[in-house]
């Protein structure tokens, strides 16, 4: 009986303590205890890899980054059950502070151009409460950005990316598996914010802001020269083949296209271009708001959509292309559009488009 009581206590303590751990989502093995410096110039790649390997070897857990600037020359594969996380709750914003020079958050300074920086490769792998920054990216006065691979590739179901920020990224997040969660992200990526393909089952994207962080980092006025490139090339979200998309609270400022819903270049997948539901979409300062060239037969349904033309550069708020492998269907129920569109706000709609309840 006494033994049982002790066991009961230990079990109680386990749960109680589990609940009361401060910042419980991010308690575990500190990269500092594996030799990471976080000083903004020492290469912490090997130390971080040691921490990931040790935590993975122990069965999984958190690899913790305190506020600091961890300069990294390599890339990482995050295995099953391992989460890279910051010790302070994100997402972080960047306002007139250069994350390469001043610590504002648990920050990874990324320099590798050889492959994706993080590959989430295993159930339960994740990244949370981190700031990703590319210190060698061009300045805001450049005419085009340096091309980097995706910051994060999600390659397994059951993975998540939450409460993170990227500044000066090129392509940020590539979702290549279903059953993943993405939420509370501030994305400063010049080219592609989020890309989705090869997704069997559902993907949830919640509370994502695609913003122009690079001008703020340098205290440059919008639009800077690099903004012109982004206005011609940047896309907030690309969706190719997937089973089902849940998209909520998605906003974009200054991109060529807010959302591109199209077919995959890889036609070997056994499911079609996706369908999904979206609400509370704010696409501000774009040439194209939503472009749809493909969907499976339920189509995409959006409510509360606000789309604003980039001054003097607007092409179409919603453009539905005809033909293609899966004729597109789209419903926009409720919203507004602002500014001048060269092709008209909703040009030559195909038969399977419904746009209703738009504010005058």
């Amino acid at each position: 009986m006494k033994v049982n009581l002790t066991v009961v206590f230990l079990v109680l303590c386990f749960f109680a303590c589990h609940v009361v751990i401060a910042r419980a989502v991010c308690a575990g093995a500190s990269v500092n205890s594996f030799g990471a410096k976080g000083d903004g110039h020492s290469d912490d790649t090997a130390a971080i890899q040691s921490a990931i390997s040790a935590v993975s070897g122990a069965g999984g857990g958190s690899v913790v980054f305190g506020p600091g600037r961890y300069m990294v020359s390599g890339t990482f594969i995050v295995p099953q059950g391992v989460v890279l996380c910051g010790a302070v709750e994100g997402p972080f914003d960047v306002t007139g502070i250069n994350p390469a020079a001043t610590t504002t958050a648990p920050t990874l300074l990324i320099t590798s151009t050889s492959g994706p920086f993080l590959i989430l490769q295993g159930f339960g792998a994740g990244a949370s409460d981190l700031l990703f920054h590319y210190p060698n990216q061009v300045g805001a006065s450049a005419s085009k950005p340096t091309n980097y691979p995706y910051t994060i590739v999600m390659n397994s179901p059951g993975t998540k990316v939450a409460r993170c920020t990227v500044t000066n990224g090129y392509d940020f997040l590539d979702i290549e598996r279903g059953r993943v969660i993405v939420e509370d992200l501030y994305i400063g990526a010049f080219h592609t914010g989020i890309y989705i393909d090869h997704v069997e089952d559902r993907v949830s994207v919640n509370n994502v802001v695609n913003q122009v962080f690079w001008d703020l980092v340098e205290n440059a006025a919008v639009p800077s020269p690099i903004d012109t490139w982004v206005m011609n090339n940047g896309i907030g979200l690309i969706v190719n083949r997937m089973d089902s998309l849940e998209l909520h609270d998605f906003s974009v400022f200054e991109r060529n296209t807010g959302m591109l819903l199209t077919d995959s270049p890889d036609k070997t997948q056994n499911f079609l271009a996706g369908y999904g539901v979206g609400s509370d979409i704010d696409l501000d300062n774009v040439q194209y708001g939503i472009v749809i060239s493909s969907s499976n037969s339920p189509g995409y349904k959006f409510t509360n959509v606000d789309i604003a033309a980039a001054p003097g550069q607007g092409q179409a708020a919603v453009q539905v292309k005809s033909g293609g492998s899966a004729p597109p269907k789209i419903l926009i129920n409720g919203g507004s559009q602002r500014g001048t569109w060269a092709l008209g706000a909703y040009p030559a709609p195909a038969s399977d488009i419904v746009i209703v309840n738009i504010l005058p």
Partner: protein
């Protein structure tokens, strides 16, 4: 982890162990020989800050070996640990202070100095960049003024480059105000928000609680990027009671003046004005707001503001166990506004609910016309405004207007209008209510004389 919480856990563990020991005595095992040590402590601690552990000599059936007279030697997996010197126990048990130097999972082991077979250990996670307010002198006893101690912890976190300043489950009485600079988050030790159900937060510690008495300025000012508030309960112990005719005026509980800030998973009871967002790029979510006057006010917000999962409720009646409506509720029905939005670049508002307020949401222009952007626009969904005189009042917006989906608005019985669109003003208002319902009687009509740019569609009959 903060010391006070550890003390609570410790008390918890001791009470159970006392139970175990009593049971042992009853079966005649009190004087049995020690076979091992039971070592107890918290599951986590802040690296660099001390915490308590207890060591108990136990016999083979885990009863306390009260006659143990040996000495205990301490070791740890953490080479940076500050451990007690070799010590004796008193009646088979004693409490010691330990400080870990390195973060991560660490083990602390107690071993008899003469017989290494008598030993015991436990593991805990040491967390870095964490600053327990108790380590800076905060008492959390509900009466000692902890303002300076908490500000001291905040300043230490700021000097260290940022981190979490952690309050325990205790009542921190304050007389002053706090400024939270860049990269410092003031937070509780576990996940909020908290609710009060028949408990008075001034007299019982039910959450990490700040008792606020200052009337000179906002209690907390978030004035640096990355600063924030999380998992806390704010209570005004000197506020009037529910039988009063009008509340005492207090400044805002939290004032946000910097972008990149957040207020999450927190709760206010007996506040007057709760949250004033005076900057864009701010995130407010998972809030239970018991404020008599204004729940959230937004102005001077260049860039987007996100407000999610906010519940404006009548917590004061609950904490005093009086029925709704109490006399103070009448004042609230005549004066309170759950959300007032002035000039903001883009509002994201979701899962916003209230019970009993004069006006649910007021979308209007700022008194400060010098701002270089107009009255806001935004998108909103999942709005539940229950028992109001006015649901949504809009007198101004920029040309994109406000778009709302799934809106339910219920009248007080002397309701005026579910949605009232005023004409004229600095920026003619536009609003879309797409999908919803309205209930009860409205003196002016549910949607009186809508201006041409009001669209109300898909309302349940």
């Amino acid at each position: 982890m903060a010391k006070r919480l550890q003390t609570l856990l410790l008390a918890f563990s001791l009470s159970l162990m006392v139970g175990c020991g009593g049971s042992g005595s009853g079966s005649g095992g009190g004087g049995a020989q020690a076979s091992h040590f039971g070592v107890r402590g918290p599951s986590s601690s802040a690296a660099g800050f001390s915490f308590s552990i207890t060591v108990t000599a136990q016999d083979k059936s885990n009863a306390v070996a009260t006659s143990y007279s040996g000495r205990v030697h301490f070791t740890s997996s953490d080479p940076g640990a500050v451990l007690p010197s070799d010590s004796q126990l008193a009646n088979g048990t004693a409490t010691f202070s330990v400080t870990l130097g390195n973060s991560g999972l660490q083990t602390i082991t107690a071993t008899d100095t003469m017989s290494s077979t008598i030993h015991g250990s436990f593991s805990l996670t040491a967390i870095e960049n964490e600053f327990p307010v108790a380590a800076f002198g905060a008492k959390g006893d509900g009466r000692t003024d902890d303002t300076a101690a908490i500000q001291g912890a905040i300043n230490a976190a700021s000097a260290a480059g940022g981190g979490s300043v952690v309050l325990s489950v205790a009542r921190y009485f304050t007389t002053g105000t706090l400024v939270v600079p860049a990269d410092v988050v003031l937070c509780g030790p576990f996940q909020g928000p908290f609710d009060v159900t028949g408990l008075n937060p001034a007299t019982g510690a039910i959450a990490p609680t700040l008792l606020i008495t200052n009337t000179s300025g906002p209690f907390i000012t978030l004035n640096g990027a990355g600063s924030g508030v999380a998992d806390l309960l704010f209570h005004y112990p000197n506020q009037v009671h529910t039988n009063a005719a009008a509340p005492t005026v207090y400044p805002y509980t939290i004032l946000v003046t910097a972008p990149g800030t957040k207020v999450v998973r927190s709760m206010a009871t007996n506040a007057y004005d709760f949250l004033d967002i005076e900057s864009g790029r701010v995130l407010a979510r998972d809030l239970y707001i018991g404020a008599f006057h204004i729940g959230i006010h937004i102005d001077h917000a260049k860039g987007r503001v996100t407000v999610r999962n906010v519940f404006n409720q009548v917590f004061w009646d609950v904490s005093e166990n009086v029925p709704v409506p109490s006399p103070i509720d009448t004042w609230v029905l005549n004066n309170a506004i759950a959300l007032e939005v002035n000039r903001v670049d883009g509002l994201e508002l979701h899962d916003f609910a209230l019970f009993i307020r004069g006006t649910g949401i007021l979308l209007t222009d700022s008194p400060d016309k010098t701002q270089d952007f107009l009255a806001g626009y935004g998108v909103a969904s999942g709005i539940d405004l229950d028992t109001v005189k006015y649901g949504i009042v809009i007198s101004s917006s920029n040309s994109a207007g406000y778009k709302f989906a799934s809106v339910d608005i219920g009248s007080t019985g002397d309701g005026q209008a579910a949605v009232q669109v005023k004409s004229g003003g600095s920026s003619p208002p536009k609003i879309l209510i797409n999908g919803g319902s309205q209930r009860g009687v409205w003196a002016l009509g549910a949607y009186p004389a809508p201006a041409p740019d009001a669209v109300v569609v898909n309302i349940l009959p």
